[in-house]
Amino acid sequence: MNFNWTEDESAFRKELRAFLDALVPADYDAFALGEHEWAANSKRFCERLAERGYLTPSWPAEHGGRDASAFEQVIVAEEMVLHGEPRGLQYMSVNYIGPTIMMAGTPEQKAYHLGRISRGDVLWCQGFSEPDSGSDLASLRTRAVSDGDEFVINGEKIWTSGADVADFCFLLARTDPDAPKHRGLSLFLVPMDTPGLEVHKVAGVVGEGAFHYLVFTDVRVPASALLGKQNEGWSLVRRALVFERVGIAKYARGNRYLDRFMAWARAHGRDTDPVIRRQFAEAAAAQEMARILAMKVADERVKGRPDSPVAYVYRAASVRAERLAMELGIELLGLDSIEENSLADRQMRWGMTAGVAGGSAEMQLNTIAQQVLGLPRAS
C-alpha cells in the first residue's frame, strides 16, 4: 500500500497490541456485555491504558498526552476495535469531549475534567438528541435558565448510550429561546448524580439497556458547569464533531467479522461458492475503501484541513461497508444468522444501526450537497 507506516508507528502498534493482548481477554466485545459490566471493565482497562500512555497519546503533553499524530490516533482506534473496544464509551471522551474542553474550558474545568479523562476513571454520556429533535438537532427544547450563579435545567434527552453508568453528561441545552435556533444553545458539563436528573432505559437492538431516556426536572448546576460562552454551544458542537471523525475505525471491526465469516466458510466448504466469493470481495473492498478514507481523514487533519469533505465521505463509506459485511453474514449463515449470539449476530446489529448512529446517513448527504457541492437549501 502506498502510505507506509513509519518505523515508529509500527513499533507503537506492536507495543500497544502486545499490551492489549495481555490485558484484554480474547474475543472480548464490550458492546455484547451488559452496561454495568462493560463500564466496570472500561474503568479497569482505561486506568491501565492511561498508566502506559495509551489512552490519550494524541492529546497535548500539558493535558496528559504526548502530542502524537492523528495517525497514531488511527492506530489506537484500530487496535481498540480489534480488541473489542475495551475503552467502552470512554472513546468518546478521549476523541472529542476532552478536546472540546481543551478548546473552550476554563482553567478549572480543564484541570478537573481533562485530568480525570486522561486518567481513565470517568465515564461520559452525550446529551444531544431529544424525542422531537433528531436530525434537526438545533431545534432542541431542553431549557437551561440562568438563576443567580446557577442554571436550572428542564427537559428530556433520548438515545443516550451509557447514561446509567456515566459520571457526567455532555449536555446541549437552550439558553436563549428568542434567538434563531442555532444561536440560543449552550454546552454544559453536568454531573449525573445531580438531584432532579432521572435515567430511564430504552430497550435497543444493539444490547440490553444500551440506550436511555433522560428527564431533567429543575436540575440545578453551578454556572461553572457552562462550557464555553453562553449561546455559543452550536458552533462548539460542530467543531467537537470534527474531532470525533478521526479515531473511529469501524472498518477494523468489519474486517474482524469478514475474517470470522471466511474461516466459517472454509470450515463448512462454502469458500468455493462463487456467490459467496463475490460478496466477500465486495464487502472486503468496501472495508478497504473505508480504511483508505480513514487514513485520508487523518492525513487532512495532519495537514491542518480538519473540515475536509473526505470526513463526510468516510462516514458514508463506513455505512456501506457495515451493511455489506452484514449481508455477507446473512447470505453465509442463512437462518442461523438470525439466531441470538450467532456468528453474524453482532454484525447484524452494527449493520442495522449504521445508517442512524452518530447522525443519519441522509443528513451526511445533505451536508455534502449543501456545503461541498453548493446546492441550495430547500427554502
Binding site: F71, M262, A284, M295
Partner: protein
C-alpha cells in the same frame, strides 16, 4: 505515516488547461466523424508538453516520471473526452518497450515515442476482449515465428506505427512481439464502438512471419511483461473513468443549480440533492482507491495486482453509476445527441468493460485476498 499526496497539481492543471482549449465538445464531435479519430493538432500539443515521453526513461530522452504522473494526464483525457493515441502509445506502447530496456527495439523506438514522432499500441486480448489468454498463436520457423489468429479491441491500432503482439507459442510459452503495423500478413480492422470518442480495432494475423529480432520477450519474461501491461491497462481505464465521472458530477451539479422547476432550482430538492451527494461520495472514494493502487504500482509493479483489481472494479463501477445518474438528473436534455451526457456514459461503460470487467477483477481480488479456493 509517509505522505499520502504526491503533488501533481501542476501537471494536472497544465493538462486540463491544454485540453480545455484543444478538446472542446465541438472538436470531439468533429473527430467522431473522421475515419481514425485522430487530431493532428492535439497530438502536436501532447508532444510539445512532453506527454508521450512522460514516463519514458531519461536514458531514452523521456521525462522519467512515474506511471502515477501519466495517470493524472489520462484522467484529464477522460474528463475531456480526448484520445488521439496518447493512452495507447504511453500505457501499452511505451509500457511494453520499457519492460525490455536492453532490447534493440526499445532503444530504437522509445526515443521516438518520447519525442512524439511515433505512436504505438499493444494487442493483448482475445478476439472477445478477454485478458485471460491471447488470441494470437505463434509457431516456430527456422529463423523466427509464424503468427496466426486474431486479437480484439486494440486501441488506436489504426494510427500506430508499431504494434506489440501477445501470442501463445506452440511450445506453450507466451511471446511478446513488436511489428510494424504495415507488415504483410497483419490486418487492422476498425471496430465501431458506442463510445465514439475513441478508436479500437480488431487485428488478424495470417501467415505473418516475424524474425527473432521482433521478439521482445518469451516464456516467463513475456508472461510477466504481459501481466504488467494488463495491470497498466486496467489502471489506465480506471484513470480515464475517474475523469469521466468527475466531469459528469461537475456538469450535473451545475445543472441542478441552474435548472428550475416548481419555481426553484431542482438541486434544492432532497431527491436530487442526495443523488448528487452519492455521486460525490462515489467519485471521491474512487479517486482515493485509484491513487492507492497507482502508488502501489509505482512502488512495486509486480506486487500491485490486488490493489489494481480492486481499484479497477471500484472506479469503473462508480463511473458507470455516476454517469447513469447524471443522465437521469439532466432529464430530457440528457437523452439528446447534442448533449455530452451520453458521450460520458458510453465512455464510462467502455472503460468498465475493457481489460477485465468488474466481475473478473473482483474475482481476482477475492482470489488474492482469500486463499484461492481448492481446484
Amino acid at each position: 505515516m509517509t505522505d499520502l499526496d504526491v503533488d501533481r497539481d501542476e501537471l494536472r492543471a497544465a493538462a486540463r488547461d491544454m485540453l480545455g482549449r484543444a478538446s472542446t465538445s465541438a472538436r470531439v464531435r468533429e473527430l467522431a466523424d473522421t475515419p481514425d479519430g485522430f487530431d493532428e493538432n492535439l497530438w502536436r500539443l501532447f508532444a510539445e508538453m512532453g506527454l508521450p515521453g512522460i514516463e519514458v526513461s531519461e536514458d531514452f530522452d523521456g521525462a522519467g516520471a512515474r506511471f502515477g504522473d501519466l495517470a493524472v494526464v489520462l484522467t484529464e483525457l477522460g474528463g475531456h473526452l480526448a484520445s488521439s493515441g496518447l493512452a495507447a502509445t504511453t500505457v501499452l506502447g511505451g509500457g511494453a518497450l520499457a519492460a525490455v530496456p536492453g532490447h534493440t527495439l526499445a532503444r530504437d523506438w522509445l526515443p521516438r515515442i518520447a519525442s512524439g514522432t511515433a505512436r504505438a499500441s499493444s494487442a493483448l486480448l482475445s478476439p472477445e476482449g478477454e485478458p485471460g489468454s491471447p488470441g494470437l498463436r505463434a509457431s516456430r520457423t527456422a529463423d523466427g515465428w509464424r503468427i496466426s489468429g486474431a486479437s480484439g479491441y486494440v486501441p488506436d491500432a489504426g494510427i500506430a506505427e508499431l504494434l506489440m503482439l501477445r501470442a501463445l507459442g506452440d511450445d506453450g510459452g507466451e511471446l511478446l512481439l513488436a511489428v510494424d503495423r504495415d507488415t504483410p500478413g497483419l490486418t487492422v480492422m476498425p471496430t465501431p464502438m458506442l463510445d465514439i470518442t475513441r478508436r479500437f480495432s480488431d487485428i488478424a494475423a495470417s501467415d505473418l512471419v516475424v524474425g527473432d529480432a521482433s521478439v521482445l520477450a518469451a516464456g516467463a519474461a513475456a508472461a510477466s511483461a504481459v501481466r504488467l501491461l494488463l495491470d497498466r491497462a486496467a489502471l489506465a481505464a480506471a484513470a480515464d473513468a475517474l475523469g469521466v465521472a468527475q466531469h459528469m458530477l461537475d456538469m450535473t451539479v451545475e445543472y441542478a443549480k441552474t435548472r428550475e422547476q416548481f419555481g426553484r432550482a431542482i438541486g434544492s430538492f432532497q431527491a436530487v440533492k442526495h443523488r448528487c451527494a452519492d455521486m460525490f461520495v462515489a467519485v471521491t472514494t474512487a479517486r482515493i482507491a485509484l491513487a492507492e493502487a497507482l502508488a502501489a504500482y509505482d512502488a512495486a509493479p509486480a506486487d500491485a495486482t490486488a490493489a489494481v483489481s480492486q481499484a479497477k472494479a471500484y472506479t469503473c463501477d462508480a463511473a458507470a453509476q455516476v454517469t447513469e445518474d447524471g443522465v437521469d438528473l439532466h432529464g430530457g436534455i440528457g437523452f439528446t445527441w447534442e448533449h455530452d451526457a451520453h458521450l460520458l456514459l458510453k465512455r464510462a461503460r467502455l472503460d468498465q468493460a475493457l481489460y477485465g470487467d468488474s466481475r473478473t477483477h473482483r474475482r481476482a481480488a477475492a482470489d488474492l485476498a482469500w486463499v484461492p479456493a481448492a481446484g
